[in-house]
Symmetry: C2
Subunit: 195 residues, 2 copies
């Protein structure tokens, strides 16, 4: 294991998919079956799944897993943390030689799915971290999503693909100026509270 303090552009996500259904095992396995994870390193245990690789594939895979689960119509949610540039990171477990072509774009292009999402960005190691966020992120330009503020998080409502675009753009913009960035998110679809 080699530390690559601040220079590593290995992105990763530790996440869990939650189908609120007796069929949760089938929904998870079936979603995973439909998603091409060949461009990321992946490890799953009973608490969460970790994927690592290029940023484009990390967002592509998490979005595709969520969409394939949500299109069952069941109430499903996903919570996790995206991370890049962790100084304690190792260069192992990673697929950085893949090209930038997202594997799951075609497979999800016809899925229309509304969702609500709360996320929070944490630029690490900078005293002016709040300013880094403010300077980089202008969510008013986020097309297709409704943006609102809540305690500890920003809420996005809209189509899942627009939400993931906004998440990836926000994360990408902050990581361009801050070496180590993490971003928590919780996205929820088909909640009976919305009917």
């Amino acid at each position: 294991m080699t530390n690559e303090c601040g220079t590593s552009r290995i992105a990763g996500c530790q996440f869990t998919l939650y189908p609120m259904s007796d069929k949760f095992v089938d929904i998870i396995l079936s979603a995973l079956d439909k998603v091409d994870t060949s461009k990321v390193w992946k490890d799953t245990d009973d608490v969460s799944t970790c994927i690592r690789g290029k940023m484009v594939h990390i967002f592509d895979v998490t979005q595709a897993i969520f969409l394939h689960a949500a299109k069952t119509g069941e109430h499903v949610a996903m919570s996790g943390t995206f991370s890049i540039g962790c100084p304690g990171d190792s260069s192992g477990d990673v697929f950085m030689d893949e090209n930038d072509q997202p594997q799951n774009k075609a497979g999800i292009q016809d899925i229309k799915q509304q969702a609500g999402c709360k996320f929070a960005l944490y630029p690490m190691g900078h005293e002016d971290y709040m300013k880094k966020i403010m300077d980089q992120i202008d969510l008013s330009k986020s097309r297709g999503v409704e943006v609102s503020e809540s305690h500890y998080a920003t809420r996005l409502d809209g189509d899942v693909k627009d939400i993931f675009n906004t998440l990836q753009e926000s994360f990408d913009q902050v990581q361009q100026v801050v070496s180590h960035v993490t971003m928590t998110f919780t996205i929820s679809a088909n909640s009976p509270s919305n009917k």
Copy 2:
């Protein structure tokens, strides 16, 4: 709303309870019904619940909600983020005049529940944030929980009460030396992957 930059000791948690069951609504409502939330401010929408108040009550309430849901025997999980000292925080929505007596200690004392948990601590605004964690946290002294490392997180296995004690101690120790601290966690019980 008054900003209390760095001086506020209002703690909070944004979390979601996930019962992997067709009866998810009943399990959530029944758990909430058994938990005394009178010492915290609480707001719930279709994505997550936010509670705010003294640290002792934030951990007491999240632990009690998880335990009352898990004791149904269904596979349940909870993901969320604890936060304290956020410079963008407001002094509203908070119950800081309550005493330090946890309301749910008696109600959960007889519940024995094993779980697995992954958590990560984020001390904000310090260049030496990794050192702050290392200096403050000695998980080898955590009684009753098995500690292991994974990408982006530390895993704890054991009884739910021992896990929450370890979470609260870790969070408390870091917030004593760093003004703004967040801590993500995902805890899971009764997973069929463990049977």
